[in-house]
Symmetry: C2
Subunit: 479 residues, 2 copies
């Protein structure tokens, strides 16, 4: 047992040091490995399989709305990046530049895409001619590079995986509709698959995307009360279209500029998954996104019939549609339990000689550690039921955590007191001016997370400056 | 009709100019679009969807053999690339170099991965300790960059998509077994899904991968009689392991070097798909890899009930498991036929008022243009059957084409004559020496495609130099 304890204790308790807990979980669940390449991580099989499941489900949701996938070049010539003024200002300081190809120095530098608006605009300017060509609803799954100074697994790295959708529409209304539609898809995906409730809203001008007319966001709350921006959707209006000359002839044969959107979700969301559901034993994965949903651990596996029974149960459960593995390695059961727990596999099935004799198995839930003794003929049904219950319970717990960490401030002193002492979101009215937003950040390090769609009137004035309040904002410290 | 004819005639006939035919098909089937980025292509929805299907099926075959997916950084520090001598010599001349990050000049240049052996080796050296950690069977789907001077859609571009598998094993035998296993998977995949028969064999030393002990290849034959290397699998022995210090302790607790393999297939295979099956009307996609298998074209679609019936047939066929679309745009039926043909959609279903009255529809095969009048209650069954027949017929035709383009040369004059006048593969004995291989290339531009697994003894001497023959080689001009 000493060996096993040591293994578990290697994860720093959350309450002791949340940041270290996070790093420990990421490393010990074998989600990532650090690399020799500055700021870049290796996604190991356990980590990449989560991303594969995210991709599969999110991609299906995109395609249901008519989105098609494409693949764009990873390089952007400097002159192309510079076409939209705000955009280049936002991104140029943090890109990686290719200056040599083969043995030659390039005439023009190429940046490794930090995002692909400029490439899509260039593409659209060539393939859009008529209103019949609209809308264009394209998306790509790829990696992007942003030369970040400090890095943290999943949350911030020089290179990361994501999807970026880029659409072009005939009208402003259609573009706005698509922007909101994709934000809703992100929110639905987070709730349904990741069991993560989110706050939906608009970013302030200060926080919006470089070149966008408006940026919408979903914000999730981590276990430590910090917010994590989990997906964004931007309406560009016709700003990029004017910079890149993307025009179509309408039904009256008049030239019009298109209206564009873009929207993205990245491997950052895996950071949210860890920090919303994890516990001191490691990762806890929601059943609908877990690459392995059930780990069967044979007890006294050298006794005759045990491994055979474990294999039989596995194939029954796989036939029933579940993702199942058997841990038949020569480690002790306790060690196997710990590994399954650290990896966050939703259910464990224990089966030993006595269970076989009694025609039963034991199901253990990863989240509550609840044990169910189940007869073998009912196993598949019970597994299905328990996975469903666990998925719902995880969402409910996350919702309760979110609800109990939303505070309200009527005065600026109250606000500062909450930010200092009660991690979470703080609702407070805002005059709409940058100065107050800056002051709040400077005084408290909290930032405006979003102007939520569901507005309330808490006070009539902005508690910071006393001017008339325009909007209620969710504020908070964030990753 | 004039309009439609013009559309079809826009594809240059194969017999007139094969290279132009290829470019026309790629462009007009909307598989790719050229970009403003030197040597890089845009994969449009029609092209990317083919790659998605290739990925899905090939990935499933990999996973069945225990392979797991990971994601590695896209950058390789120069010092890491240089660790294996042959490898760096092979790749350094054709890589893109990142020299600036954000506003700073990097202390060490980073190349954009041309392939990831060095990264995997570095990774393996850190995570492999014991024989219990072996084998490691990792793969990644990503894009790579090789600074090619001349580029052609799918066949050669500065950036392309591929998968690269990298495995580490305890023994030489296991590594060799895995190398061959993956080559067989490639061959099986090509036959089963792409309806492309291939020749399996080993590359000569001249043609093998930089750093490999041995390279195996599958070679396909294009419509114009040129070969296309379609997938390769390399056995590295312990060369990389020694360069990177990848050791494990065996059961006797002695340190041993691992034995490694790598294997890859890229978007190049889409070039093969086009050049093996296409015809003068455009692309012809094998049903098992076609993103859209059936295009329903309503005839006289403004007549009452036609579009409703088309939609009904679509949903029936989708329920039966097929990929189906309806072209209900306001183009003429003839125009729609041409588009469906250019895109290579395997089957077209025509349904008009008269058909509805007669309770029937017309199925048209893309490959043979054969028409079947089918009663509507049998439509789903007939579609399934016809797709199956078409898939098999396409493979049989490709096999016949391959078989009829394999020649045999007993003398060097005979060889030169065949290479000049009969495009295809030429079987000829070889002494095993580089000089003869070089001479053949210089005299004829034909290269050694592979030393096939199935050997024959055509002559006792090498027809080029007269020395004793060691192996029979497949020679040919290649893409």
């Amino acid at each position: 047992m000493a060996k096993e304890k040591k293994f578990v204790e290697a994860v720093t308790p959350m309450s002791e040091d949340f940041a270290q807990w996070y790093t420990d979980v990421v490393k010990k669940a074998e989600l990532i490995e650090y690399s020799n390449v500055r700021g870049c991580m290796i996604l190991r099989p356990n980590g990449y399989a989560i991303w594969e499941n995210i991709q599969k489900n999110l991609d299906a949701m995109f395609k249901e709305t008519g989105v098609e996938n494409v693949y764009m070049p990873m390089f952007i010539p400097e002159s192309l990046l510079q076409k939209e003024k705000d955009h280049v200002e936002g991104f140029a300081p943090e890109v990686a530049w290719v200056t040599q190809g083969g043995m030659n120095t390039l005439e023009e530098r190429l940046c490794v895409r930090p995002t692909s608006e400029t490439l899509f605009c260039d593409f659209y300017s060539r393939i859009i001619e008529s209103h019949r060509d609209l809308p264009k609803l394209y998306n790509q799954w790829c990696s992007v590079v942003r030369w970040e100074k400090t890095t943290r697994p999943f949350l911030r790295s020089a290179e990361f995986l994501w999807q970026e959708g880029h659409t072009a529409h005939a009208t402003e209304e259609e573009a706005e509709e698509r922007t909101i539609q994709m934000l809703n898809i992100y929110a639905e995906f987070c709730e349904k698959y990741l069991a993560i409730p989110v706050i939906k809203g608009q970013k302030t001008d200060k926080e919006k995307f470089a070149g966008a007319k408006s940026t919408y966001t979903i914000e999730a709350l981590m276990h430590d009360g910090k917010a994590l921006q989990s997906g964004t959707s931007h309406n560009f209006g016709d700003g990029f279209a004017r910079a890149f000359g993307i025009q179509y002839s309408d039904k009256e044969n008049k030239l019009q500029y298109v209206h564009q959107t873009s929207w993205g979700m990245s491997t950052r969301i895996i950071g949210a998954l860890i920090m919303v559901h994890g516990d001191d034993s490691g990762l806890v994965l929601p059943p609908r996104i877990a690459p392995v949903q059930v780990m069967i651990v044979p007890i006294a596996q050298r006794k005759p019939g045990v491994l055979e029974k474990a294999a039989e149960l596995k194939s029954t459960l796989i036939k029933a549609g579940y993702q199942v593995k058997v841990d038949d390695s020569d480690k002790s059961p306790g060690w196997k339990f710990n590994e399954q727990e650290i990896r966050g596999i939703p259910l464990r099935v224990e089966i030993g000689p006595k269970d076989i004799e009694a025609g039963q198995a034991i199901i253990v839930r990863r989240d509550t550690r609840e044990k169910l003794v189940v007869s073998l003929d009912e196993l598949a049904d019970k597994i299905g039921e328990t996975l469903e219950i666990m998925q719902n319970d995880m969402l409910e717990r996350a919702k309760a955590h979110l609800a109990s960490h939303i505070y309200e401030a009527k005065t600026y002193d109250e606000f500062k007191n909450i930010v200092e002492n009660k991690p979470g979101f703080v609702k407070m009215m805002w005059c709409g001016e940058l100065a107050c937003e800056m002051k709040i950040k400077e005084d408290t390090t909290a930032t405006s997370r979003c102007i939520p769609f569901e507005q309330e009137q808490i006070t009539d004035v902005c508690p910071v400056c006393g001017k008339p309040a325009k909007k209620m904002v969710f504020w908070g410290k964030a990753y």
